[in-house]
Symmetry: C2
Subunit: 363 residues, 2 copies
Amino acid sequence: MPFLNYSIVVHNFNAGPSILPKEVFEQASQAILDYNGTGLSILEIGHRTPLFQEVVDEAISTTKELMKLDSDHEVLFLHGGASTQFFQIPMNLLNEQETAAYLDGGVWGKKAIKEAKLYGKVEVVASSKDKNYTYIPKGYAIPADAAYFHYTTNNTIEGTQMHAIPETNVPLVADMSSDILSTVMDFNRFGLIYAGAQKNIGAAGVNMVVVRKDMLGRVTRPLPTMMDYREHIAAGSLLNTPPVFAIYVCMLTLRWLKQLGGVAAIEAINNRKAGLLYDTLDKLPIFRPTVAKEDRSKMNVVFVMDDEALEKEFLAECKANGMVGVKGHRSVGGFRISLYNALPLESVRVLTELMNEFALKKA
Amino acid sequence: MPFLNYSIVVHNFNAGPSILPKEVFEQASQAILDYNGTGLSILEIGHRTPLFQEVVDEAISTTKELMKLDSDHEVLFLHGGASTQFFQIPMNLLNEQETAAYLDGGVWGKKAIKEAKLYGKVEVVASSKDKNYTYIPKGYAIPADAAYFHYTTNNTIEGTQMHAIPETNVPLVADMSSDILSTVMDFNRFGLIYAGAQKNIGAAGVNMVVVRKDMLGRVTRPLPTMMDYREHIAAGSLLNTPPVFAIYVCMLTLRWLKQLGGVAAIEAINNRKAGLLYDTLDKLPIFRPTVAKEDRSKMNVVFVMDDEALEKEFLAECKANGMVGVKGHRSVGGFRISLYNALPLESVRVLTELMNEFALKKA
Ligand SMILES: Cc1ncc(COP(=O)(O)O)c(C=O)c1O
Ligand SMILES: Cc1ncc(COP(=O)(O)O)c(C=O)c1O
Ligand SMILES: [Mg+2]
Ligand SMILES: [Mg+2]
Ligand SMILES: [Mg+2]
Ligand SMILES: [Mg+2]
């Protein structure tokens, strides 16, 4: 049992909520007993105190630094999950007579399309539904007069990822829930970026929204106060009682990433993790990745085995070796291995060793 | 310094986020390192696993038990703060041509009124704004054809509380953010109850919503999926990734309340805490409660001193004696002492002793 050589007991490949850095767990646990020596739990401090203001300030400034954002962009930490943004975005950005362009690249993008239709016209510029979303659509045209173009950078369920930012003059709106801050990109090219925190940046219960200010104030419909990005900007993410603890965990995770060397540093590690896993999958005939090679996700690696009995057996092996979260999404089947920022390379080594062993045993 | 006789170092009178039971802090802290011996943090477990299903199930069933809810009522744990409900309620319950009746009893009720106007007609049946919301309006009529009647059971900022449920056939909708589960009442009489968790039931970042099923499905407007109560009911509060940790803390706090003996038991303790504090305020001429006697809140006790220099001095004394969160809301001034469920009687004893001492010194 080679995994006994490793220091980690559980290997958490969950798709989200998912593994966070060990230091973050330790600091968050401590802060619940006594936040920074105040004698108070982080759960019982007022959100309008200097104690919490520091947390929000650091979460925002670290995000700006990691993303190298220019001064046109604002960073918000908002209530809700990424699904909340599916409707909050068109509510804020799309007038009824206008058209928003959407890419239908996976289950999550499809859900975003559904909500946008409540607020204006939606043009789906391309879809990969024909092949079960196993590739990223290419060669489509984005109407020049679209209010924005929405796409999902990483399709968490299907395991595809867009490796380049589309070239267009239409404002880009991106759901980066499952690959935010995992790879170097020009974040300033986006009109709006959003991500549920529970994969790469923190705990469930908060959204990160990065918005270019000129995107706002264009819609004519009246907005509920809590849904209006401008209200949250004016209040510095403290419009009402924010999800205090979830923001605190984001701050710790962002700080960890910064101390590690930022996005370029984590990208190098992520490349090694994904490289090792895909190389193993390609080498071993028993495992079959489901996704077009050039569109493979570095965050969620999806594969199947052609024999269902073998799949069950391998799943049991994973479990016996302390691995959790390896089962594929019910809509795809097989396996999904999530390799988010906080997942140690070690966990991928343990998994690939198990794969090699298993393939040998079955050869 | 009499406070040295007490075991608590900090006395947390915060208005929210606010003190939670010590056991809850300890259990939550431990769960972040290792949730129930799984080797996983509560922050990294999947929300669709049996591990978390248990948490949601217990949170919901304990709420039903504590509130003695009948089978017509559903319990939801939703993203956002109580301010999110200010618009989500009329969005779900009020057609454009219909009228909702609102009581204008304080700052929070006023904000709820503003959001409701986006969705239909609003009739403000009474207001205590004329006297800075220092009393609860009485003797008003609720139009019989109103879609619902909305009021705030406890006005957190102003320190007033409604001690009886209004008699009406119109469905009752109540913001119980700051006194939920603090006093025995017939929760089944409400069409909808909501409360931000961060006072009596848990940590910031989640709302409890209790809704009678026949309230739903009446509005004709299309609802965004994430805003539709029916969707959340159908999904058992797991429509998307919920605020996992905030729900966990709710579950622990609800469990604590149940083990303590439920709402009747905590009401007895709350009565002692509020009784001791109001008796002291009434006895000492130097402190002046601002609220009409019959409308006094047992959760937020508001008072002033007639001399600003003395207020500063007393505030400093409180601070020196380990008390936090005693300063009044900026809109009222003076002092606000929050006595939520988890605040120990001991803390009120320490405070009232300090008051007695201070009054003696200044006599
Ligand atoms: C790419 C993507 N978008 C949206 C969502 C939905 O996020 P939430 O559950 O926070 O609403 C997910 C969830 O996994 C996701 O992976
Ligand atoms: C009675 C009441 N309603 C609503 C709110 C607003 O709650 P939130 O900050 O969770 O939006 C508060 C906040 O203190 C409150 O006391
Ligand atoms: Mg998708
Ligand atoms: Mg292979
Ligand atoms: Mg109020
Ligand atoms: Mg007095």
